[in-house]
């Protein structure tokens, strides 16, 4: 078993400099998403969840190329990013099951994951909401004279909401240290991009804001990592924002109630051939980092640590009812404060 749940989020972030740990994290994200699906069937998860299986390389590519004092404003499809940035499986599954061990004490749920220690703002359940927040985080970095960078993570669907335009325009005009990271997974909720968007690549819109527009293979963690590094360095150096588009795919439907029957037959199979975990494992094998049998062993170890987290979550207490009233405003701090 890997000590995923016993580590602090910052320590989990730090080990991502290791390439093998990057692979392990991608496996962990996939394993957790699949486990959450089962927990839902078992009646342990309420409401909805938005899984990111297939997009793991984007999550880990971003996390490995940023610092814990950079700020990430992410979406409700955020399990993978939260884990990559450092949240433990225990904190994540705990939140999704609404238990005290969750990152928001069970008050937030699947769509609202948070860990200030690694720069993760509460993930937003409103499409596009994170883009303006990232601009503000960048303003704060400038006023406080730090070299912090803000990253807005959003899907292709968010490129059609007003916040996208307003934020890119604002960031460009003030040369704010922001990276706009688009996860283009071809679908906005239940609709394929061609039905909602006149361009297949969101990054072409960067020209309208006089900022670089970059497209990378979102299934290749090294490609994502390198592109994020370039964009982040540019932002840190005071040269302004970048629109970075990662071409990726979500294996599941939009949310739990969506079986994704609108997809072209065979489309999923084509993407599965370029599975980000398989691709990266092959690369590490070629590099000699991963030996024969290592991958199966890693998968088993991750599975064990995720099962350990699930066990702890299901044994954890439900939050006390008084928590309903706590942390609404500063003078209602609640029993945890």
């Amino acid at each position: 078993m890997r000590p995923a749940n016993a580590m602090s989020p910052t320590a989990r972030r730090a080990i991502l400099s290791d390439r093998l740990e990057q692979l392990v994290r991608m496996i962990e994200i996939r394993t957790v998403e699949e486990r959450i699906q089962k927990l839902y069937v078992d009646g342990e998860v309420r409401g909805s969840t938005h899984l990111c299986s297939g997009q793991e390389a984007v999550c880990v590519g971003l996390a490995r190329a940023t610092r814990v004092d950079d700020v990430v404003a992410c979406t409700y499809r955020g399990h993978g990013h939260a884990l990559a940035l450092g949240l433990t499986p225990l904190q994540l599954i705990g939140e999704i099951c609404g238990r005290t061990v969750g990152c928001a004490g069970g008050l937030g749920g699947s769509m609202h994951l948070v860990e200030p220690d690694v720069g993760l703002l509460p993930t937003a359940a409103i499409v596009g909401a994170g883009l303006p927040l990232a601009c503000g985080a960048a303003i704060a970095a400038r006023v406080k004279r730090t070299d912090g960078v803000a990253i807005a993570v959003f899907g292709d669907g968010a490129a059609n909401i007003g916040a996208f335009h307003e934020s890119l325009n604002f960031a460009a005009i003030r040369a704010l240290p922001v990276v706009f990271l688009c996860e283009n997974n071809l679908y906005g909720e239940y609709s394929r991009i061609n039905l909602t968007t006149p361009v297949e690549e969101i990054s072409v819109r960067a020209a309208g804001y006089a900022m670089p527009g970059v497209v990378v293979d979102g299934q290749d963690v090294d490609a994502v990592g390198a592109a994020v590094t370039t964009a982040v360095e540019r932002a840190r150096a005071g040269q302004g924002p970048t629109l970075l588009e990662t071409m990726t795919y979500r294996y599941s439907g939009h949310s739990r109630s969506d079986p994704a029957t609108y997809r072209r037959l065979g489309e999923l199979d084509e993407w599965l051939k370029r599975d980000p975990i398989v691709l990266f494992a092959q690369k590490l094998t070629d590099e000699g980092v991963l030996a024969k049998g290592d991958l199966d062993r890693l998968r088993d170890e991750v599975k064990d640590s995720v099962e350990q987290a699930v066990g702890e979550v299901l044994a954890a207490p439900q939050p006390a009812r008084i928590e309903i009233l706590s942390h609404v405003t500063a003078n209602q701090p609640g029993p945890q404060a």
Partner: protein
């Protein structure tokens, strides 16, 4: 005492806060180079520089959201919304993002921003630039709301709002920006959020109002036969239940004067609460003086009729006190 216009008091509050606290920044349309459409930020750019006094594009969702992000990351942003209606395109950032930041992070993060917005009717701006819209901001847990009624209260409320660890909306009645008032502002002056002020003592009836209504209420109190107690509620969320209940406990009668439509006004909540809290003391049904459920008319005569005048308020209050039942609103008479 020196005389100040309300806009100068707002500017003074911003200037003092910027000077005292490096975390304070000001964002909005035309607030920097132009000094603000209502001159509430005049001269701040030269004093504090372009990193802290930020001209934004016409994009309320973008810059209000940026203020939320900056607040979460340790700044104390003050956003100017030129006309409160413009907040409509940015409400998500305020009511859904900022207001839940503390809750979702279990107190580890917060969004202590201030949104200042000019609001209210009386100047012929037409129905899309004349509303108070306080009901857009009430009823959202985590969000506070107050209304200035002149230079002194604008200063005291704005300074408290900037100090506050949670998001606060300060409505500034546009009609009052140019009004001169004797104000002796001390840098330490604050009006606690959630506290009402008794403007005039009286024995027969409690007349409760905010913003531009305060001047009308005072004038109405002078004209009425009844001995009217006038209270400036100042904050609408949270509001000062104790002060209102205490006053109504003495007078036995409650009248609200609201620059709000009958169906959406804050008086509904106040009356329901006080009717329960002071039920035994009431000698007449609580009465609300509001706007009709109709948009703000442009025409000068119609706008004057649409807004409650001091004479109308005095008449309504006297009718309630004399007959012990609620008088009909003017639009029921003309209909």
């Amino acid at each position: 005492m020196p005389k100040l216009r309300m806009r100068q008091a707002v500017l003074q509050a911003l200037d003092d806060a910027l000077a005292e606290d490096e975390r304070v920044i000001v964002l909005g349309e035309d607030v920097a180079v132009a000094g603000g459409p209502f001159k509430c930020t005049d001269g701040l750019l030269a004093k504090y520089g372009a990193d802290r006094i930020i001209d934004t594009p016409i994009s309320e969702m973008g810059f209000l959201g940026a203020a939320v992000g900056a607040a979460v990351c340790g700044l104390r942003p003050v956003v100017e919304i030129m006309f409160v209606e413009f907040a409509g395109v940015a409400l998500d950032q305020l009511t859904t993002q900022a207001a839940t930041m503390r809750y979702l992070s279990r107190g580890r993060l917060a969004a202590p921003l201030v949104v200042r917005a000019s609001a209210g009717a009386g100047q012929g701006f037409g129905c899309q630039h004349s509303q108070m819209l306080d009901h857009w901001f009430r009823g959202t847990p985590g969000l506070k709301l107050c209304v200035a009624s002149g230079g002194r209260t604008a200063y005291g409320l704005l300074r408290s709002a900037i100090d506050d660890p949670d998001p606060v909306v300060v409505l500034e009645p546009r009609l009052l920006y140019g009004v001169l008032e004797e104000v002796d502002i001390d840098r330490g002056y604050r009006i606690p959020l959630g506290s009402a002020e008794t403007v005039k003592k009286g024995r027969d009836v409690t007349l409760l109002t905010v913003g531009a209504g305060v001047r009308i209420a005072v004038e109405a109190a002078a004209a009425a036969n009844a001995d009217v107690e006038v209270i400036d509620l100042l904050s609408l969320a949270p509001w000062d239940k104790a002060a209102v209940a205490e006053s109504v406990g003495r007078t036995g009668r409650l009248v609200t004067l609201e620059e709000a439509t009958a169906g959406g006004g804050w008086g509904g909540e106040v009356v329901a609460t006080i009717a329960a809290a002071a039920f035994g003391a009431l000698v007449a049904p609580p009465h609300r003086i509001t706007l009709p459920d109709a948009p703000v008319p442009y025409n000068g005569d119609l706008e004057a009729r649409y807004l409650p005048s001091a004479a109308y308020v005095a008449e309504q209050v006297d009718a309630l006190v004399k007959r012990g039942r609620a008088p009909r609103p003017w639009w029921r008479e003309v209909a």
